[in-house]
Symmetry: C3
Subunit: 444 residues, 3 copies
């Protein structure tokens, strides 16, 4: 073994990683702590725990309270469980594989009905006192929640996004954590981190989870970059609250999260240069009071659910809610592209004009140089998830224009500046209390 601080779960004498990798990792952590306690010079360098490719059941929650621990695998091993569970069962024997793979942790916890959400976490991190727990790293393995469960609706149980399971739950204040190259699938909560400082969530694959990335409590100076993300219809692809200086960039966020990015009380942060795709309104929501943020150079696409198993499901929001909704002060919305590609017959409430950017509350927001494309389509659907989505994405011809409000400023909001983001008729705002310069009309 290369150095005493390099562990391999398949080579550890305590427990059986295939049966319960949780027990094995906890035993390794205890060993790290025991050995670190006796060093003379105060150094506690932590360790790396390697998970080779393989299927490892987790029946015991991993509890982490030491810094500088890196848990790493050799493959995020994502494959779509959602597609598989919606293939007729009599076709399963013909499938090449039934399950995700790579370095795969199978979450076999069964949290009780009244349990705190953290009880269902495969990896639970908590440490009080000083300093904050630092430089924990999760890299290149998969956490698989296996199944969803009935939620009381008519939904096929595997489509509910409910199972009480969490991939990683960080409960206490932390510094310089990293989550890189990970896969998360079929968890109700993939990654829930409280009170993060200088966190990096980079280059992961987080999909088919109830919610994907949740930054809770408060925090600062973190980044969520270059990930592939797509939550279920009940949760959020990215959610953050009370964060300052958060950088959300270069992510490709696909459906079907209730929101792609939802920020509450987030300030002086950026949502820039992402590709965002959703089947519902409310793609990016700046809840009260999210202020002085920059939403820039993003590509927003909202169209219709094309895949049969999820037809008729949505997040309950009207088309007047806004694809981008801002409730806060002094935010900048600059240089985004919006495509609203919907069936005019299905607009809700019927007869209303869909809203693309809605400034619902707050003052001093600056909305400039955004382009809105709105088309009325007759959406096709298909039993094949991939084909349906690609067909829908590539269909840009033979559509009619759709009348939309590109920017709506609610009466309770004032002192906003709206520039070049819609023609005179497309921008609904009180010109006495806001500054509006309409995009010039064609041929004017």
């Amino acid at each position: 073994m290369p150095g005493p601080n390099h562990y391999d779960v398949t080579a550890w004498p305590v427990g059986d990683p295939v049966r319960d990798i949780g027990q094995v990792i906890n035993s390794i952590i205890a060993d790290v702590k025991r050995r670190q306690a006796v060093t003379a010079d105060g150094g506690k360098p932590g360790a790396v725990i390697y998970i080779p490719p393989g299927d490892y059941h987790l029946r015991t929650q991993v509890v982490i309270d030491i810094s500088f621990l890196r848990i790493e695998g050799a493959g995020h091993g994502f494959t779509s469980s959602s597609i598989r569970f919606n293939v007729p069962e009599d076709e399963w024997p013909d499938l090449h594989e039934l399950w995700p793979g790579g370095s795969r942790v199978l979450v076999d916890l069964a949290p009780g009905a009244g349990d705190d959400a953290s009880k269902g976490a495969a990896f639970y991190v908590e440490r009080d006192g000083s300093p904050r727990i630092s430089s924990l790293e999760f890299a290149n393995f998969l956490i698989d929640g296996l199944h969803f469960e009935p939620d009381g609706s008519d939904l096929q149980p595997e489509n509910t996004y409910v199972n009480g399971k969490t991939g990683i739950h960080v409960a206490s204040a932390n510094d310089s954590f990293r989550v890189n190259g990970m896969g998360f699938v079929y968890l109700e909560h993939a990654l829930e981190m409280h009170n993060a400082d200088a966190l990096s969530i980079h280059d992961n694959f987080v999909a088919e989870c109830g919610s994907c990335i949740e930054l809770r409590g408060w925090g600062q100076a973190s980044k969520i970059t270059d990930n592939l993300i797509g939550a279920g219809f009940k949760g959020h692809s990215i959610y953050a609250e009370n964060h300052g200086g958060l950088l959300i960039t270069a992510n490709n966020i696909f459906p079907r999260g209730a929101s792609s990015v939802r920020l509450s009380g987030v300030t002086r942060s950026s949502v820039s240069n992402n590709r965002l795709h959703s089947f519902y309104p409310g793609m990016v929501v700046l809840e009260p009071t999210s202020s002085e943020n920059l939403v820039s150079a993003n590509h927003f696409l909202r169209d219709h659910e094309p895949w049969t198993p999820f037809l008729g499901i949505d997040n309950g929001r009207d088309d007047t809610y806004g694809l981008l909704r801002v409730s806060g002060n002094n935010n900048s919305v600059i240089g985004n592209h919006f495509s609203e590609i919907i069936d005019a017959q299905g607009i809700r409430p019927a007869g209303s004009t869909p809203v693309v950017i809605r400034v619902a509350a707050g003052t001093g927001n600056y909305v400039s140089s955004n382009n809105v494309v709105a088309l009325d389509v007759h959406a096709a659907t298909s039993d094949s998830c991939f084909a349906a989505q690609v067909d829908a994405l590539l269909a840009t011809e033979a559509s009619d224009g759709l009348t939309v409000t590109t920017v709506m400023v609610d009466p309770g909001s004032a002192r906003n500046t709206i520039l070049d983001s819609g023609t005179e008729a497309q921008v609904v705002a009180d010109r006495r209390s806001n500054a509006v310069r309409a995009t010039p009309e064609i041929g004017s």
Copy 2:
């Protein structure tokens, strides 16, 4: 060996990886398949195959038809073969090294003249049926095509970018693939992927190849991020067709690709926040019918070839073609910087006015807040590739202004909006069928 699913090519009993790593890897894949077939619970976790630093000839094509395989090395090992082959041969004995290094796969395939391009691929991926092959990962090694070959022209054979070799060819529909930290050099096609979904091509070094990244067939929801890329003069640094929701961002794309980014039938995608440098027009081309894309926050630089061996070579396009050329509907071109730094004496056709952004076809495009810098320089050249390029890049003084058309809308295109992207004289567009607001003149 850490777990049964962790392989090392230098420790495998079948074959000799130095003589033919292809035979070794195929033997390992057969072993993975054999062992996976007998598991009881349906799990097929795949494996990791490690290639330590070293030179490994590949004489047998690697054929991959299992999911969750990660092939990884410990170094992309790029060095410039182009510079080396253009050093006089009598100086070669004084060179520190002649070849690239790292975990280096030397492609010794010799595809026949009439062979399909896939025959010359070092790594060939194909699997029919369901589910699509998933989570294949290539990481941190180098694929080296070694030599280019005479192409019938007067070119030094090592400068032709032709040899029939491909690094990785993915022939069938796939999901959640990753290509990270790889190096590709001296291949006619570095990476050619068909029908990709949720693909990530991240942080690679792909240079001195005929074409670098080609996404063919159709696909969706993928990202090409944070790479260093530079194709030869015949091919494309990035090419994609029939993709939706593709995110191309944070790449540094250097010369000399015929195009930096060429998109055909690509929709609802982003080319944002890249640094793009080319010696020819047609840097970013949105071919018919590429629609609802965002081209934003990029830095475009077009100047002249400064290195002696490639003087006089170009991609055959006139200077009126456009550095950015758009043929499609409802695209957004927002907030880009363009530097056109050329010798007015060499403009083609002689006497014409170079065009920077050309909307050649389509309707409803939105072009706003782009800045064009155009300078007339007398280009210097040098036998030293690095010095020549840096000198040219840093020379911004002592240049005269050059008259250009910053935006040209062809007569066949209409209903576009052009804002703040050139003065009244610099924007050539029919004002009756387009909306134009010129950038204010100095002192006006």
Copy 3:
């Protein structure tokens, strides 16, 4: 050991890595060179040197003169030494850990007073001749300078950012280097690279260093992407000189660097899509003559130092200096958000109007679609670094507006274009020699 080119510092027979990892790595490099010299076919693939988690003193400088060497650890192991050293010493016994961790190199060099800065470098890279040294990679370990030293001021010595130590110093021209996943802490210079081509500095944690990333000499086609960076108050988070085609993007740069990004003679480069936070003016400085650069889609926040140990310290610049200061030609400043959140009572010089974007010299700059938020706050301070910073970041309410000059064009600068970046009164520029279109006034 997997292949002869894979080394582990804890398994090498020469030296003791815990006592002096420098001696061990130099001995390994000598072995690589010796073995490579006898290969027949000219291949010199280099090697990987693995540093498992642990504390390794470095008493001998590592000297690297071979290509294709990858030195990698299993954890950047950052924790804040700055916070720790400012905890009262009697509380140290209660701390969970005193030092950073991971794969940690403790720099125990003691450069002499008159020594060249490179003498204090833990890793020193130099090779003359051709080709340039290529594909050196540093990955996933920590370089820790341990302590700062008295600087002659009243500062607590651990807060001076002075100790003569450098993490990595690259002295000669180089190609395709990579620095990924590294940590740097308590070094006077973290990473100083001369004459870089196609360099990638990606996903690192570089903080609490005098200066973090310095690209010196000249260079091209490099990228600094997706890092967490924060220098001390004396140095720069990112500094580059005489570079062309540099891409600085997706970084989260936190205080307290004298500059977040300082460019001198840098051309045709991008500073885009970063999150920038500073306690002083002069956050991004384009020194003479930096031309044709793009500064776009960044979030700038300048507020006050909230943490007690550094109160009263700044970079000496007046509030009229500009948060972004441009001295060069034909730069584009597009679509940035600026928050200037300061106490009006502390403006320097007293009674002056703070300047946000200052075009100090040069011609032809294009400043468009930038939003400036300026608030007058009564800054709170705290002994708790994390709490203080988060509290300050989240405080956006209950502030008064602050009068600022959003754009100032100095009299020596001309032919600039200023659009939608401030109201008529907020833009100070000679309208006869510049083009100005003011942001429309509210209700106008």
